[in-house]
Structures are given as C-alpha cells and as structure tokens.
C-alpha cells in the first residue's frame, strides 16, 4: 500500500459520491394529485397547550368542524379548505410568531383567533399588514375594534379584525336590566382586572345606576389569587343584594363559595365567562346567574347543527366556552370566501377581497345571527340569562338588548 493508491482511492470515492449525488433527479411525476381544486387555508391561533388549552382546543376543533362541513357540501366550488392551527401558548410573543408564520404561508386566507385580547393586540398588526382577516371568537376588549377612545370617539383601528363574541357593552347592561327587573337595587361589583372583567363591570355599573340602582361596593381581585376572604368581608360590610362579578368561572366559582361560607348569601352574577359547567364544580351554587349570547341552544336549529356535528366529529376535547363562537367565526370567513375566492387566481390574491366581503356576511349561526357592524363587532344583541338550579344552568330569560 503506498500513498498514491490511497490518494487515488480517496479521490475515486469522493468523485463517485458527488457523481451519484448529482445524477438522480428529485422530481416525481406520480405525486401531482388531483389538479383543478386549489387549496385555501383557514388558520387558527389559540392556546393549544398550557392551562388554557381546553378552550383553545375547543376553538380549533370547532373551526375544523366548520371546514369539514364546508368541504363536504362543496361550499366553494373549485377550492378545498384546510386547517392550519398554531399554538400561541396564551402569550403575545408566541402568538406573534404564529401570526408571522401563517402570514408567510401564501395559502392562508383567514384566521380564527385569538382567545386572549392581549395576544390579539400582537397578532392583529402582523395580519393587517398581510391583509389577512382575523375573526376572534373570544376577545371582548372594546378597544380592539373601536380604538383607544372607544367611549368618546370610536374609530376603527384595523380593517382586518372582526369578532363573533359580543363586547362588554352588550352583556353588562343586559345583566343590569335583568337584576333591576327582579327588584335588586343594591349591588356590589368585583372584577379580576382583566380587560374582560373590568369592561363588563364598567358597563354593568353604568347601566345599573342609570336604571335607578346603586353600586354599593366596587372591588377587585387578582386573577391568580384563590383566597378572597378579605374582599368578601369588605363586600359583606356594605350588605348588597347581589354581587356582579366580571371574570371567568375559575375564580367566580370559589368566590361564590367563599362568599356564601362567610355568610354573604346573595346571588353572584357574571357574564359568559362563568357560563360553564365547571362553575358549579368549583363552588357556584343555586341562585347564581350568568348572561350568555344568543338564545338557548336547544331552541336554535342552527346551534343544533353545530352540537350534533361536534358530537359526530369524534373530538376528544369538548367545544368549551368559545367553540360555538369559533364555529361561527370560521363560517363567517367561509361565507366571505364564497365571494372573494370565486374570481381569485390564487389564495393570496383573495386576501384583501375577503376582508371587504366580511362586511356583507349575514347568516344564522350557532350563537344566533352572525353579522358585523362598521367596527367589526358582532351585531348580535340577543342574550339569555341563565340561573343555576339543581346544580345545572337553566335558561331564565331570553331577550334583545334595546
């Protein structure tokens, strides 16, 4: 063995490797698939992991259901819809990355999400720049649609943003009217300092005092707290006839339980954030009240289609608090796509058209009538008051907010 042979062998191996690497062609005639149908994707940005994942997965599954139903009925001829779900971990940073990722996918034409208003603030600008419509099933912060001065000078902030849930200025007043109607005149309010809870309480208090009632106490709690004895004692001292709570069931349940344990035996009322089966498990008791958007599901044919479809879909996670809103959000995008995709050559060029088409969308959804006003808010003003009785939510009163 001498050096020369080795050199030669080495060169030969290297050369043959390179030659072989160069010769094969990475094309494949077999995988073209069915031509003719084009693909458009509807994205989902929601917490798919972490402690809010139950709600996030409910949103994702409901969108999936809407897409499957649309494909099955060939809702948009020539196009096949697909789901592109991204996890935002309920944090703005991750949500923003998810939005940029979806925006750089040319097939994405619309997005359902987010769960948290805080995350939406980060995703909306990214998606607006890419002209992608975003429909949220859960953001209730009024400034997302009406801008910083939403009370005095509402001004639409981003043309691409819509939502199917109602904002606080619908639910709060409806609850106030209901309580006044049952003869309650003195109410203490508590909220969890989230935009949702604070907004609900502000709007509630405004309508309640305007209707002749008095807000005798206004308290706040920290959402990560679980001992409310100090607040309860303070509220008990002013002897209200009811408590109006702005927040979600995970604190409302224990709060109701601790209030009753401390001898403050008055009903606790809240918004759709506490209209959840877990509220009773965590301490919600008979007599507690909640408002929720739309007529009761049993009375609505369009809602039945959702519930039956979800059951038949075989999803392991429940549709949770915002599933129906997400289903409506996806269907509103699909309705807009019917117009915008019809004439579009590819999905990307239909993005701007989808935003324009959103304003004329109107149909009966799982939560009632779905349509958007000039700010992108849902026009639905039909609400139902539910009452806990026998450990379950029972519809108490359905009406339209005037």
């Amino acid at each position: 063995m001498n050096k020369r042979t080795f050199k030669l062998a080495g060169v030969a191996i290297l050369a043959s490797t390179l030659a072989l690497a160069g010769c094969g062609a990475r094309t494949d005639a077999g995988t073209g698939g069915a031509t003719g149908t084009k693909v458009a994707k509807i994205g989902v940005i929601a917490p798919l992991s972490g402690d809010l994942s139950a709600m996030g997965l409910g949103i994702k599954n409901s969108v999936d259901l809407a897409i499957k139903q649309a494909n099955a009925s060939n809702a948009i001829p020539g196009w096949k819809l697909e789901l592109a779900a991204e996890d935002d971990q309920a944090t703005p940073d991750v949500g923003k990355n998810a939005a940029t990722k979806l925006a750089s996918d040319d097939a994405v034409v619309g997005i359902v999400g987010t769960l948290n208003s805080g995350v939406a603030q980060s995703t909306i600008p990214v998606l607006d720049a890419a002209k992608i419509v975003q429909v949220s099933p859960a953001n209730t912060n009024p400034s997302l649609t009406k801008g910083a001065d939403y009370l005095t000078a509402p001004k639409r902030s981003n043309a691409n943003y819509f939502r199917t849930c109602t904002t606080d200025d619908v639910q709060g007043p409806f609850a106030a009217q209901y309580l006044l109607g049952t003869g309650v005149k003195k109410v203490a309010t508590i909220h969890d300092k989230t935009p949702y809870g604070q907004g609900l309480v502000t709007e509630f208090a405004k309508a309640f005092t305007a209707g002749g009632g008095t807000v005798v106490g206004a308290e706040t709690i920290n959402p990560d707290d679980d001992n409310f004895s100090a607040v309860v004692s303070k509220v008990k001292a002013v002897a209200p006839e009811a408590i109006y709570y702005g927040g979600v069931y995970s604190e409302a349940g224990p709060l109701s339980k601790q209030a009753k344990a401390a001898g403050l035996k008055v009903p606790l009322m809240g918004g759709d954030g506490i209209y959840d089966g877990n509220f009773m498990k965590l301490g919600g008791t008979d007599g507690d009240l909640a408002t929720s958007v739309g007529a009761p599901v049993e009375t609505l044919a369009s809602a039945k289609a959702f519930l039956d479809g979800y059951k038949a879909g075989g999803y392991t996670d429940g549709y949770s608090a915002y599933g129906a809103y997400a289903y409506d959000a996806a269907n509103s995008i699909i309705a807009a796509l019917k117009t915008s995709l019809a004439s579009a050559a590819d999905a990307k060029s239909a993005r701007a058209g989808t935003i324009t088409a959103m304003s004329s969308v109107a149909f009966e959804g799982a939560t009632g009538k779905v349509a958007f006003d000039q700010y992108g808010d849902s026009v639905s003003r039909v609400l139902t008051v539910y009452k806990v009785s026998g450990g379950a939510w029972k519809a108490e009163k359905t009406g339209e907010l005037k």
Partner: protein, 576 residues
C-alpha cells in the same frame, strides 16, 4: 468501554476492527443513495433513489468523516509523521461513528413517527442504521489515541483568518438551513447532525485550535461574527416568519447578557430581572405615539431609549440599595418579590386602583413602528434585490444594541471593575478585606444591568407593538436565568447559545410545547448537578464549581499561561 474491552484485545484486533469499520462507513455512504422512507412526507423527503435529500447528504458527510478518519492512518506512521500524534485518529473515528449512528437513529425514528410505524422505513434507512452500528462497534475495538494537540500546530495568520471566515460562513449556512426546516423531525435530525459534528470537531481538536486562532485574531473573529449576523436576513428571502423569531432571540439574548453581568460576573442571583425589561418597555410604550399612551410627552426614540434605561436603572438602585447589604440569598427572593410588585403595579395603574398610566392588564397596544432618521422600521425595503421585511429591520437594530452590550460586557470584564466583581463573587469577605468597595460595585452591577435591560425593553416595545403586564411574569425571569446557566455564566458566547436554544427549540418543536416547562425544570436541575458551568465554560468559573478537581486546576492554570503568552507574546507568562 475501556473496562469492557481490554487493551490487549484492542491491540490484537486493531486491523480487523479498522477494516470492518471502513465497511460500515462505506455502507453508510451507500445508504444515502437508497430511499430511506416509504412516503414523501417524512423529514425532507428521503424517498428518491439515487438523489439524496439535504439531510441524507449531511449524513453522508458524517459517514465520509468516519471513512477518512479510519482510512488515512492506513498510510502508516512514517508517512503521517507528526500528524500521527497531532490528531487523535481512533478516538475521533469513534466519535464520528457515534455521531453518524445517532443521526441515523433520530432520522429513522422521525420517519417512523411521521409516517406511522417502522414499516415505513425503507432499506436505505436500515442500511444507514446497520452501517452506523457496525462502525461504532468496530471502533470500540480500536486502541485509544492520545489527546489531540492540534492547537500546538503553528499556522500562518492567513490560514487562521480564513478558517475563522469559513467557520462563520458555515454557522450562517447552518442557522439559515435549520430555521428553514419547518417540520420537527427534520429539525431534530439536523440538530443531531450538528451536535454530532460539534463533538467530532471537538475530539479532533478543532475548537482548541480555533480558540487560539480566535484569540490571536480577536478583532477578525468579532467582526466576522457580526458580519455573519448582519448578513443573516438576506438568507431569508424576504420571509418574516423566521426573522420575527430571530429578532426575538436577539432581544432575549441581549437581556440575558445584561443579567449575565449580575449573575455571571458578580454572582448576585436576580430573579426579577424581567421587571427591568418591562420597565424599559412600559416607559417606551408610554412615551411612544401610541393612541393608548396616557402621557402627552413623546420625545424622539433616542431620548426614549435613554429614559427607559434610566428608569430601569433607578428601579435597580431602589431595589438594590436595601438588599445588597444583606446576604445573597435574600437578594434572590427580594428580587423575585420585586418582579411581582412590578407586574402587579403595572396591572393596577389602570385608573381604578391607581392613576391610569398603563391601562391595566390590557396594556398599551398600537405602538407605532420606529422612525429613525427618516427610516421607518415598519416598511419593507429591497436591498440588493432581496426583500427585507419589518422584523429584519428590528433584527439589525437589536444587533446594534447587542454589540453595545457585548462591548460594555467584555470591557468591564477585563477592567478593574470586572476583577472587583469576580472577587466579590468568589469571596466577598476577602474582597472587602482587600479594599474592594463591595457595596458600590454590587450596586453598579445591579443598576448597570438594569439599564441594559431597559434599553432592550425600549426596542422590544416597538418590535412587539403592544406591551402588557402578562409578558413580564416570573417565568420569564426564570427563562433568562436559564439562558445564562445553560450557556455558561460569565461568558458571552455561552449566553448567546443558551438564549438561542431556549427561544428557538420551543418554536421549532411545537408538538412538544405541553412538556416545555417540565423539561425546562429538569434541565435546570440537571445542569446544576452535572455541568453547572454551562455549555461554554468560563475557566475561572469552571474551577469554582469543580474545586476538588486538581487536574482541572492545573489545566486551567496552564491554559491561562499559554493564553496569556499568545495574547502578549512579548511579555513573560505571568506567575500563578
């Protein structure tokens, strides 16, 4: 392994082992021309016979390394000359074989998982696996080689500089390639390749050589690193998806570097560092032109940055002054409490529990893009025919901020102040006895670190568009600390690596995200137990963690002397 196979056996079987190993390597090379997967969806499509996918080519590269390391020594010791001793041929071959096997295992597992079952792994995958196993098994029978001594090889300056340049280019290529892999299996396979390659190069002595070359050409190294980082956006073809991650990594890394001064140099455990980033971000948000800002004072960004940094450092003074006098343990918890105070306060300044400054938990959205000298950071630009998006602009800005922080960090580290800090870290009482003003120095580190975080926060506010209190929770502080601990306390390169790993992996491995924090907790415990000095160890620090290790102490001493000799060839090696 040494215990299992006796040295005599190794000596007896060395020719056979080498031959078998070469066969294994050839099998691996051959495998890349076969199909590995039954379907096209797995990894980066390994279903074409005769045309390897990029990942298969990378595998081939490892296999070629095994082949070369096994085959070259066959020319015999006389022909190799001193290279027979300089390179640890056998040991490196073993490492390379292990690396190849590891990559094959990850790839095959990835194919099986993505396509649903091992049945979808084609013969090529099995050949690769078998070849890897054969070569690993056979290299175990090779006699161990002495430690490599590549760093003692004299090399001309041009060679050193060009190798640094090539290495940097490779880093750029690797980063761009890794970010381009959207599917988790491909990413993990490539990560396995990278880890394997790094191990092989380490065993080869390449890093020792590079660190000497780097020390000799410090300026070249730093400049080329920055050049590479600067060029990075051009590899992204106008896509913002990866640039938004990259910009976030930089913000995170810059903040972690600030924390590194406090934790790594001075040894003060700050568990509320995220609050300083938040203070900077909130200050910048309130002073920005956002419609949600409640203060009618909107100075230009240059001024805002300084105010943000100052606000953060004043907070640092406020929290540091009372606590830096007591023991370090207290500081950890007090800073943690301070982090909570900050978050709750930002939540409460909403008009109902305090003056309305931050809008409470809704935070301040709609922060406009930066506009510096007529250059709007929100506008995409076209440079050299390549689209540069919004996030790339922020990426470059953060690169500048990062450069500033690195300059401050390294200069301080090598100054009188830095030595004072390290003295405090190692033994505060002794430092004080030697006349070091420990309180003032600690306070300086604490508020200085806060200033840097405030500056990073100001950029972050504009980059993120919205600032909310929930972005600044304790867990984020823990992540920052983890970046410092993982990478290596007191080092710049380590913290950069740590920050990149901690931010990039969760983005690329999203299927894993529910277990992210679980793994994170375990990682902290295991790092402290098995490698407390981090991936890139600061030498003094390493010694501190392994005080009983005499061998290491000698090694560090020796290295310090040689390093010094390299840095100051004229001066005599100082005595230790």
């Amino acid at each position: 392994m040494k215990a299992i196979i006796s040295d005599e056996l190794k000596l007896r079987l060395r020719y056979q082992a080498r031959a078998v190993g070469i066969v294994g390597a050839l099998a691996m090379i051959a495998s890349i021309f076969l199909t590995w997967a039954y379907g096209h969806e797995a990894l980066d499509d390994m279903a074409y016979p005769g045309a390897p996918s990029p990942l298969q080519l990378f595998f081939g590269l490892l296999a070629l390394l095994v082949l070369a390391l096994l085959a070259i020594p066959l020319v015999g010791k006389p022909k190799l000359g001193r290279w027979a001793r300089i390179v640890a041929w056998n040991t490196t071959a073993k490492t390379a074989a292990l690396a190849a096997l590891g990559m094959a295992v990850v790839a095959v597992a990835g194919i099986a998982i993505e396509l649903g079952g091992l049945i979808n792994v084609d013969p090529g995958g099995w050949v690769a696996l078998a070849g890897g196993l054969v070569s690993v098994a056979s290299t175990l029978f090779l006699p161990d080689s002495p430690e490599p001594s590549l760093e003692r090889v004299k090399s001309p300056k041009w060679l050193q500089i060009s190798v640094i340049g090539v290495a940097m280019a490779l880093v750029l290529f690797g980063a761009a390639f890794a970010l381009g892999l959207s599917d988790a299996g491909s990413f993990l396979t490539f990560a396995a390749f990278l880890v394997g390659l790094v191990m092989v190069l380490r065993q080869f002595g390449a890093f020792d050589w590079l660190s000497i070359a780097g020390a000799n050409n410090n300026r070249v190294l730093v400049l080329s690193a920055f050049a590479v980082a600067f060029v990075f956006p051009f590899t992204q073809d106008g896509s913002d998806a990866n640039m938004s991650i990259a910009a976030q990594v930089l913000i995170f890394a810059a903040t972690a570097l600030g924390l590194n001064i406090v934790v790594g140099l001075v040894g003060l455990l700050d568990l509320g560092y995220i609050a300083f980033l938040g203070a900077g971000a909130f200050t910048a948000a309130v002073l920005s032109e956002s419609a949600f800002s409640r203060i009618d004072f909107h100075p230009p960004f240059i001024v805002t940055v300084l105010i943000s940094g100052t606000v953060a450092s004043v907070l640092g003074l406020l929290i540091g002054a009372p606590t830096l006098r007591v023991s370090g343990d207290y500081l950890a918890i007090v800073t943690l409490a301070f982090g909570e105070i900050f978050r709750i306060t930002m939540n409460n300044l909403d008009g109902s529990d305090g003056p309305n400054i931050t809008n409470g938990s809704a935070g301040i959205p709609g922060i406009p893009d930066l506009d510096l000298f007529g250059f709007n950071f929100g506008d995409p630009h076209i440079i050299l025919g390549i689209d540069i998006g919004r996030f790339a602009n922020y990426y470059w800005l953060m690169l500048l901020v990062m450069g500033l922080i690195i300059v401050v960090f390294t200069n301080l580290n090598h100054s009188r102040i830095g030595r004072g800090w390290v003295a405090i870290r190692e033994d505060e009482l002794a430092a004080e006895a030697m006349g070091v003003n420990t309180f003032a120095l600690k306070l300086l580190a604490f508020s200085g670190g806060a200033f840097l975080a405030g500056v990073a926060g100001a950029v972050k506010a504009h980059h993120d568009v919205s600032v909310t209190p929930e972005q600044y929770v304790f867990l984020e502080s823990a992540f920052l600390l983890a970046a410092v601990v993982l990478g290596g306390m007191g080092t710049v390169a380590g913290v950069l690596i740590g920050a990149t790993i901690l931010k990039l992996l969760p983005e690329k491995l999203r299927f894993f995200s529910d277990y992210r924090l679980l793994m994170f907790g375990l990682l902290m415990v295991f790092m402290m137990r098995f490698r407390p000095e981090g991936i890139v160890a600061d030498e003094r620090r390493q010694l501190e963690f392994h005080a009983e290790d005499e061998e290491l102490a000698d090694e560090v001493e020796e290295e310090l002397i040689t390093h010094h000799a390299h840095l100051n060839p004229d001066r005599k090696a100082f005595e230790l």
